[in-house]
Homo-oligomer: 210 residues x 2
DNA sequence: ATGAGATTTCAGAAAAATCTGAAAATAGAA
DNA sequence: TTCTATTTTCAGATTTTTCTGAAATCTCAT
C-alpha cells in the first residue's frame, strides 16, 4: 500500500521511472497532434494513464510545465471524451482526475471521437450535396450520373464505417477487442482484379474543359 | 463519349454540377485538416476523385486557386499515398494526374498511411521506453511493475491494430471491405462488468508526492 | 451569508502549420 | 546538344492553432 514511497525504491530507480514516464508522455503527446487533439491534451491523458495516480490541476501543471488555463481546457475535453474522470478526496477541496485504466476503452473512445468529428460531418455534407446537385433524369449527362455514382460510393463506404464504429466502439463493452480478435483470425479477402479508371475509359479529356 | 460537352448539358445544369463538386471538395478539404493532412492536399485529391478527369498542374491551380508550389507538393504526397497516379498524354509534355476511383482502395490508403504515421512511431517509442525503464526484478517496487504493465497493454493494443491494418489494408485486395462486411454481421461482445480504477485501489495518493 | 480556495474564461502572445512565388533544377523535343 | 516548357524547391509571408496569465466566476466549509 505505498506509504512514503514504494518499497525497494532507490532514488536511482525513481529517476529512471520518471524518465520513462516522461518519454511515454512525450510520445503520446506527439501522436496527439497527429490525431487532431492538442499536444497538451494528449500529454495530460498520458500522464494520468501512465502513472495511474489521480492528480489535481496544480500537480499536472507542475509535471507538464503548462499553464493553468491549458490544463483546465485539456481536462474538460478529456472528460467529454470520457477517458478520464473526476475524483473527489474527502477533506480536500480540489478536484482530482484519474484516467480510465483499460486500454481498449481508451481506443474505443478515440475511435468514437474521431468518427464523430471526422466522418459524421462528411456524411451530412454528402447528403446536402446530393440534394443540391442536378437530379438524375431519364437522360442526364454522363458527368451528372458519374457525380451521383461517386457521391453514393463515398457515402456507402463511410456509412459502413460509421455503423461499425457505433456497433463496436460504444463507451462500454468489449466490442472493439472482440472485433479485433475476430478479424485477426479471419482469412483475408482475395485481391480484386485491378480495375483502374472504372469511370473514365480511355482518356475523356479534350473538350469539357472550361 | 462526350465531345464538346456532354449531351443534354444546359449551362444551368453545368453550373449546378460544378457547385456540387466544389462543395464536395470543400468538405473533403475540411476533413483533411482533421486527418492531419493539409487542406490543399485533401482538396486536390477530392477534385481528381469527384470529377474523374485527369488534370495537369495548371488546371488544378486554376480550379482550386492555389499556388503552383502548393499543388506540386500536394501531388507528390498523394502519389506517395498511392491514391492518385501520373498519366501522360502522348504529344503533351505536361503530367496529368488521376485519382484512384475505387473508394475502398482510397479508404485502405488512408488507413495505411495513418498507421504508418501515427502508430508505428508510438510502438517504436514504447520499445525504447521499455528498455530504458527500470527492469523488473524479484521484488521491484509496485510502481515499476505497474509501469511495465501499462506499457505492455498499450503495446499489445496498438500492436493488434497494426497487425490488422497490414492484413486488411494492403494496397491491393478487397481486405477492408471484406472485414467491414464480416463485422457488420458479427454479434457484438457483451459489455464487460465495469471495473473502474483497476489499478489504484482505494486512493493511493498521499505519499509518493515528491 | 462570507470569503478563501479552486476553477473557468478569454484576449492577446507565441508557436506551428501552411502557402506563395520566384529562382533553380529537370526533362522532352528537335 | 540546345532550347524551352514543366516541375521542384524553399525562404519568407500568411494563416491557423495552441498556450498563457490574470480577471471573473464559482463553490464549499464555516
Amino acid at each position: 500500500m505505498a506509504r512514503e514511497s514504494t518499497p525497494n525504491s532507490t532514488p536511482q530507480i525513481k529517476a529512471q521511472l520518471i524518465e520513462a514516464q516522461d518519454r511515454f508522455i512525450a510520445s503520446w503527446g506527439r501522436m496527439g497532434s497527429v490525431w487532431g487533439i492538442s499536444r497538451t491534451m494528449a500529454e495530460v491523458h498520458a500522464l494520468l494513464y501512465i502513472t495511474g495516480v489521480p492528480m489535481c490541476t496544480d500537480e499536472i501543471m507542475d509535471r507538464l510545465r503548462v499553464s493553468r488555463g491549458n490544463v483546465s481546457m485539456s481536462v474538460r475535453s478529456l472528460l467529454e471524451w470520457a477517458v478520464i474522470e473526476k475524483v473527489r478526496l474527502p477533506g480536500d477541496r480540489k478536484e482530482y482526475f484519474q484516467a480510465e485504466q483499460d486500454v481498449w476503452s481508451m481506443l474505443r473512445a478515440i475511435a468514437r471521437e474521431r468518427i464523430k468529428r471526422e466522418v459524421d460531418p462528411l456524411l451530412g455534407a454528402l447528403d446536402e450535396i446530393g440534394e443540391l446537385s442536378p437530379q438524375i433524369g431519364s437522360n442526364s449527362p454522363e458527368d451528372v450520373i458519374a457525380l451521383h455514382h461517386r457521391l453514393d460510393e463515398v457515402r456507402e463506404g463511410f456509412g459502413l464505417i460509421t455503423t461499425l464504429t457505433h456497433k463496436f466502439a460504444g463507451p462500454r463493452g468489449a466490442g472493439l477487442q472482440t472485433a479485433a480478435k475476430l478479424l485477426a483470425k479471419a482469412p483475408v479477402g482475395r485481391p480484386t482484379k485491378r480495375h483502374k479508371a472504372t469511370e473514365s475509359k480511355r482518356n475523356p479529356r479534350r473538350g469539357s474543359r472550361s
